[in-house]
Symmetry: C2
């Protein structure tokens, strides 16, 4: 019998071999993914550091080779310290996204996958220029050694930065298909601009067309903050790691120091509940005790819920403003739900419904106008498996006096969280967690109620208007006839009466 | 301005943090995934080595802890050499699946994710017992060091193996939910048994119920063979690697040695086409030349198509047998398409349509009875994004005289390939490649045609039967009347006539 050949591969090699799972299915999808991932990295680099984003994208065809494009993305973000540049762009699983914080990127993978894809298809190095403002400008030309998952620095230079500017420029080549990707790319940029009114974005496409999305405000939302893990969501692995790394001398100190929203009083109460001595050293816990402590933490009902301060919502005002700008609807309503939690991760659902105006009815039977956002990025692919679609299909919309397959109605759902449970690394759609389902359902029902009230008011107004029309038509005749009957020559002023009719 | 915190994480850590993308969304889904991944590994370990599979699965509740289960899976597969056991079960991205061969596993990830999930939720080591037949039996108790992605051997023993048996036993604990996973698990096992009539599988569930799937044949299909990459699917990265590793002295030797279906004549013709000297050493090619060579290889139309010998289909006979066994339909038709290729990966599509009998109509409006298989494994989740569903919805079924949403009709699609383009690491659904779409469409249309012929024949038979019934009723009277009229006492034998009616 022959023996199986075993081998170990690097993470870069794994994602190189399986790039579909990161969304790089084909040249058109790759073109979309590259622009999307770079834009999202730029936005994260700005917003988490309270910088008003200014992004410039240029995509051009390389004249010498068919189907090869050159992408150039420039931002005014926080920049990257020069010694981190090679691994941050040339090493898979090296990132600043591996903390608990609401960011667009969650896998720390997109930018590198884009560069990897460029390298695979064209074998050209990527050029990165960056400065944090305190350092000089550094220019790197890099390639990825896929087999060992290490960056190869092809060349390196520095330039003085006397005015302390900061930001990052990235430029590389890839085999793509802009013609087939164009529609999605423009839709993506438009929707991004819709929910980020403080964004200045310029895109020059390969045909030389300039798309300009200008900001309408300079007010930035609060930046998201990094948080500690919530005790209800901790697993045994996390707990063991924290115990092995902690400098806390006692269990009571340990709980307060490493978990979200655990103060002294909660810590004391919880330790009493699990019968652990508060003064005991965390390092003294054995494997079995850690296991039981973890289970108790997951199941204990009296920890405070996660603090939503770490999350950055869009807010109903901005949401409505953005929708009005793009869809000019007859009626729009938005709801921001209170913060909730799944597996210890705080999240907030925001929903909006737009009706009439420039909102069109779904084009094909079975279609639904659903616009999905997660941590302020639009999700355009694979809507049919998404949790939001599932919820919309579950709700009995006739109760709200609408037929979602025929009426001009559009749904907007935004989920923000320190961890969005994406089902794919390409961030195409969101897994259905019961907690998230519940929040979406109530946000939509709440919007639905107000839409129904509007529609009923509108119907009532219709009736009133018709009644008024009739009265306006006949009242003069009645007045005239009545005054004739009373033998008076003056017709009474019936306009006053019309005004009083309700 | 604060500086971003960069850090590098291990692949184990990445998948631990993002287990949704591997299908471990929640306890119920995890229970299903664990059984599925272990069964698929066992089947691969048998079939690729021409062993008739014999699998025993036991899932039991651990009485001391709520929601904790113990899984035990035993197979008679090829076994694992003892020095490979720790990394094969305790190191992510270490596997025997990283070759071009049709196997159920493609990511080399499932078994390890199952073990990882068990460890995260219970902190218990996994027990593995294995022998290749030539070695002793080895027992390992392992845990995974997630942060460094290395196996930790907790204990190790060996037992003599005088009768040279082979196989693997794996056992570990995890937090799960069998009640909610049960239906899917049984459906999964049933469908697996349906398409593998040579499989003996025993499953004892936590309630003590025994499910026995017995084999009906001992004939194994040809095992899949490992193949070289096809030149049409080669990218610059693969080409560079092959050039740096090759021992070939000339380009003509290089092409023949490292690519699928490239013989001397093809190599000469291709090298002439790209203006490369056949005697030139591959190592002398510079970066730009490699890039152009790669592009030329991808676009050259005269390479032979991939050989389907490396693929292992189910075959129409077995497919029909399996469907008849499980669904007992009134009519069933199956088609195996000729081999095709996407991105250099050969693939074959098989499709079947079952009609009537125990096939029920779709239960909810909008539902379609679709059973999907890929490399002989049933896919149960996320059907709505799958390429097969897309194709079925595209076909105008009224042309085939059926209404797929109301009639009792079921579709079966099997795709086998050296690389299935799954969109998720949890192998839930398949990306839509135009080449695969095309093959599915024609397989279904072919089945559809034969179904229509059957339905038309059936309708014609109905008419005939009715006509015969009428004749049978009136012919005796006519015969009697005619004989009376002719003054004869004998009634002519009209049964002969009835037999001749068509």
């Amino acid at each position: 019998m022959s023996i199986e050949k075993f081998k170990s591969i690097s993470p870069a090699d794994f994602f190189y071999k399986n790039r579909e799972i990161a969304g790089f299915d084909n040249p058109a999808k790759a073109t979309y993914m590259i622009i999307r991932e770079l834009v999202e990295n730029s936005l994260d680099a700005c917003e988490t550091h309270k910088i008003i984003p200014e992004i410039y994208i240029r995509l051009r065809k390389v004249p010498t080779t068919p189907n090869v494009y050159e992408i150039h993305v420039q931002d005014n973000g926080c920049g990257i310290p020069f010694d981190h540049i090679p691994p941050a762009f040339g090493q898979i699983l090296y990132s600043s996204k591996y903390v608990l914080r609401q960011t667009r990127g969650t896998f720390g993978m997109g930018g590198k996958m884009a560069i990897l894809y460029g390298q695979i298809t064209t074998h050209f190095p990527v050029t990165i220029i960056s400065s944090t403002g305190v350092e000089d400008w550094y220019l790197f030309k890099l390639m990825i050694d896929i087999q060992s998952n290490k960056p190869i620095v092809k060349s390196r230079r520095s330039f003085p930065n006397p005015s302390h500017n900061h930001g990052t420029i990235i430029e590389f080549r890839f085999e793509g298909d802009y013609t087939r990707a164009k529609q999605r790319i423009i839709e993506y940029l438009k929707l991004t601009a819709t929910i980020l009114p403080y964004l200045n974005l310029t895109f020059i496409d390969p045909d030389g067309v300039l798309y300009l999305f200008s900001r309408s405000t300079k007010i930035l939302p609060k930046p998201p903050i990094e948080v500690l893990p919530h005790p209800n969501g901790v697993d045994t692995e996390t707990l063991s790691r924290l115990i092995s790394e902690t400098k806390a001398k006692s269990m009571i100190e340990f709980l307060q120091k490493h978990f979200h929203r655990v103060g002294k009083r909660t810590a004391v109460k919880f330790l009493k509940h699990v019968n652990v001595d508060p003064s005991r050293s965390p390092k003294s816990l054995v494997s079995d005790e850690i296991l039981h402590l973890g289970q108790a933490m997951r199941n204990y009902k009296f920890f405070l819920p996660p603090d939503a301060k770490c999350l950055s919502t869009i807010g109903t005002d901005l949401l409505i403003k953005g929708i009005k700008k793009e869809f000019n609807p007859e009626f729009v309503v938005a709801v921001t739900r209170p913060p909730s939690v799944y597996e210890g991760h705080p999240f907030i659902v925001e929903a909006a419904i737009a009706y009439g105006g420039n909102v069109s009815s779904p084009q094909c039977p079975g279609d639904i106008n659903l616009f999905r956002f997660a941590n302020k990025i639009p999700l355009l692919y694979d809507a049919y498996n998404d949790v939001s679609m599932k919820v919309i299909k579950k709700i009995k919309w006739w109760r709200y006096r609408v037929d979602i397959e025929k009426d001009p109605i559009a749904f907007f759902i935004h989920i923000c969280s320190t961890k969005i449970p994406y089902k794919t690394i390409g961030k195409e759609y969101i897994a259905d967690r019961p907690e998230i389902e519940y929040e979406i359902e109530w946000a939509l029902k709440n919007c639905g109620k107000r839409l129904r009230a509007y529609l009923m008011r509108k119907a009532k107004m219709e009736i009133k208007k018709r009644r008024l029309l009739i009265l306006e038509k006949y009242l003069p005749h009645i007045a005239k006839f009545a005054s004739e009957l009373a033998g008076k020559s003056d017709i009474p002023n019936y306009f006053k009466l019309l005004k009083h009719i309700d």
